[in-house]
Amino acid sequence: MTVLQLLQRLWGKESERPSKEQAKERLRLVLVHDRAGVTPDRVLPLLKDELIAVISKYMDIDESGLDVTLSTEDSQMALVASIPIRGLRQRL
């Protein structure tokens, strides 16, 4: 350990990333999964209805073909929505 490293350690500033940042990052990710796991049945239908309401303002969509799901890939969670469009609405 160099004198500089020793001083840095005394200062509490180490060059490597502090482990608490890793803890926070892992927690954020795991909680997205946990929370979604507890509620998708309740949240997704509500989300779907609101999505239809918002998108219908701008586009004519096929509500029966609409599909909204959560997918987990590469330790990332994504909201995947497939929304068939029949046409654009006239400019408001």
């Binding site: 509490g12 926070k24 946990d34």
Partner: protein, 267 residues
């Protein structure tokens, strides 16, 4: 006016629920409040030994629930503070021996007579937890600054919300300031970035807790203990005082003392 029924819970085991219940209860009683502590951890009774009252138990929570004694008969008065009482758990029964409906009745009866009814919840989210929260109108969640404990606390926040127990408050236990300073432990601000909850106290990791538990003397009675100070502050916040939330002054070994001595850090 009926007293407040507050459950102390956590999800994860061993994070300090029983220690918190004993000490916050003692601190409230020291403020002159009439306090009763209920040990809802049936089968793994602990609150009695933390309080040093284990030799005085005759009746317990299950006896009361089953009606084989009167509620008053089961209450043990603390030997140091005459406004503090314990309703012990049964040691040789299991969690199914009491139903949530019975807990609601017992806590409501106690709230008629006491300013505070604190319920020490067992770990987990099953029957024992459901019993513990049944009669409560407020909740304190205990966690430590570790990934697993914080994750479980998040789950508990969701379950409490679903049970209509709104606005629980968080106690962060076993904080080591030396580790927080070098970035190896989350502090309260870090945890609050992650959990949707308001804080009510930060308890340092403190040897005096183990010493006081050995003796059966709650650390809240020790005027020199940092953890005791932290518990007394939680009691005052429950009473409505607006105290700043800073961890008590650290005594974190010679490096910390050296750093403060040469002025590298304040406090």
């Amino acid at each position: 006016m009926a007293g407040r029924v507050i459950v102390i819970t956590s999800g994860k085991g061993g994070v300090g629920k029983t220690t918190t219940t004993a000490n916050v209860g003692m601190a409230l009683a020291q403020l002159g409040r009439r306090v009763v502590l209920i040990d809802a951890d049936i089968g793994l009774r602990n609150l009695d030994v933390v309080l040093g009252l284990e030799n005085r138990i005759v009746y317990d929570l299950v006896h009361v629930a089953e009606g084989s004694c009167r509620l008053r008969q089961a209450l043990i008065r603390d030997k140091r503070c005459d406004t503090l009482f314990l309703l012990p758990a049964a040691q040789t029964r299991d969690k199914e021996a009491v139903a949530p409906e019975q807990m609601r009745k017992i806590t409501a009866d106690l709230a008629e007579e006491f300013d505070y009814v604190l319920v020490d919840s067992p770990a987990g989210i099953e029957r024992g937890f459901k019993n513990a929260i049944a009669g409560a109108s407020e909740a304190l969640i205990v966690t430590t600054p570790e990934v697993s404990a914080v994750r479980d606390a998040d789950r508990i926040i969701g379950l409490l919300e679903a049970a209509e127990l709104h606005e629980p408050r968080l106690i962060l236990n076993r904080v080591r300031l030396d580790m927080v300073r070098r970035g190896d432990m989350m502090n309260m601000d870090d945890v609050l970035e992650i959990l949707a909850i308001k804080p009510i106290g930060i308890i340092p990791d403190d040897e005096s807790i183990i010493v006081s538990t050995n003796r059966g003397e709650p650390v809240a009675l020790d005027p020199h203990s940092r953890a005791g100070q932290a518990y007394r502050e939680i009691a005052r916040r429950l009473e409505g005082e607006d105290l700043p939330l800073v961890p008590p002054q650290a005594t974190d070994g010679w490096i910390g003392r050296l750093r403060r001595f040469i002025g590298l850090q304040s406090r």
